[in-house]
Amino acid sequence: MSKINIVRIHNELLGTYGDQGNAEVLVFRGKFHGITGNIIDVGYNDPLPTNGDIYLLGGAEDAAQLLSLEALNRDRETLDLVIERGAVILAVCAGFQIIGNSFWAAGKEVAGLGLLDVSSTPGTKRYVGDIKIKSTNLEIDLTGFENHAGKTILGPTAVPFGKVLVGHGNGDGKFDGAINGNIFGTYLHGPILARNPEFADLLLNRATGRKYSQITDPLAVQYATWRRKVTK
């Protein structure tokens, strides 16, 4: 039996598009594998815990995104420490932009945390709708919902999170998100781990350093399969 800490970063700010469900799904899937997941909610005024195994960031509006960045900059040392330790980070939408090199919010360009070699600029339109991507890490397609106005450009060292099959992803319609080791950035809401439980398992594997065998949860399979089929 292993125990993991799942740190939900600034859900009060980064909770506009339902991404807080990712933490619940990790705990739920963890139970099947014999992992006890403990969710730690971190507010804007709270210090970032050092003992997290998985850190989650979600989607937000501009002002909230800037406040979250400000708070994370305050805890930069902790953040570097946990990354050094190999903690898993999943950042969605505004969260993905925050952990890139730079992004635009409320009409100005700001420096991000630079955990992923990407930069985001305002897109020419808003990208709203169902999205399906071919995962870089898994042999499956991932589905979700995107709702953002940012265009994200991959830097020379960035690996895309997936190849876009339906939707816009980073805005070019080619790739979605980026990965760097255990750090994952994507535009997929849904929440992504609810729509794609296999990806939740991958994060649990990475967080514990173990390889868990396949689990049986027919409803999860039915839901994920159906979304993959109808997203076209």
Binding site: G18, D19, G21, Q222
Partner: protein, 373 residues
Amino acid sequence: MRLAISILIAKFAGFLSKNILRKSGETIPGKVLLKLDSSAITKLSANRKIILVTGTNGKTSTTKVLTQIVTKLGKTVSNGTGSNLNWGVATTLMKKSDYAVLEVDELHLNNIAKAANPIAILMLNLSRDQLHRMHEVKRVADRWHELAKSLPGTTFIGDIDDPFVSYALSGATQSIKVSFGGKKHQDGAVCPACGKYLTWSKQNYKCTCGLSNKNPDQEFESASAALRNANLANVAGDFLGAKPIAINESELERSVLRNFGGVEAKIRLTKNPASWKEALSSITKSQVMLVLNARQVDGIDTSWLWDVSFVELAGKKVVVTGDRALDLAYRLHVQGINSIIEKDFSKAIDSFERGAEVDVLAAYTAFFSLVKA
């Protein structure tokens, strides 16, 4: 073309749509009229008092209460069925009256208000809803604020316990700020006026920029969402010179009773995290049906289901149906609540025994198709 002739043609189009296409006839006349005369709303609004009602939740029921209040002052027309875009407004205004109480969609408010030049606008609340269309709550709040600044002759009435409404009203020349002693807002972590982290102490907020729910013009006791809205209708009525009506909370109940093949269904409309929370807290029966669709007016993204706790349903018999029943079933599953998934509404009804009393929470499109059935 003269307005009178345009109206005649529009009415005829409405007649055809109603009698031949069997449509409701609330949208087509207004659509035709605005095609023939794009300034019809402005022309039809002259010489009568217009009151607009907007907000994320409670527009239709509040419009009904306010219409009831204003009717005592003079002939009043209203788009009481929730046809709240400019076409529905134009259709309603084709009928002559002294007053018009109009429910208006949050995003269409600015265009309609600028055309109709209302005497008052009642702003109920603003929270996450249909984000595929609204995109961001702040975006809607900015539009409301801009509108308040641009209509100095209009009195803006609103519930300032909601920081977004408070921010909108802060732009107005004339306003009546109403408070019910505070209410924590699920989307209220950031000050909509200045973008700073909004400081809440329990139910009340106060920002360093000055935005707060302290010092309202009128204060009421803490109340449920429905009661708040009814009180706000009374405040708006009072502003117009009408006597307030006695509010009976049980009559404000937003549910509709229907019998489906021997099953007593108490149906309630649910649209977004805020309205689901209200609806879930009102469940009294041990058998529940949830109907989820994700068509345009429902909001085409279902991610928000994860912002709602369904813990109230634990231990009850839960049947889910609708286009997106699986989204709901999996969300419940992760929260440890088992549900029975049924293909459609009639199958879902069949899964209850005759004589059963069932609480039904239905998404927008599902609600209206069930209530009409």
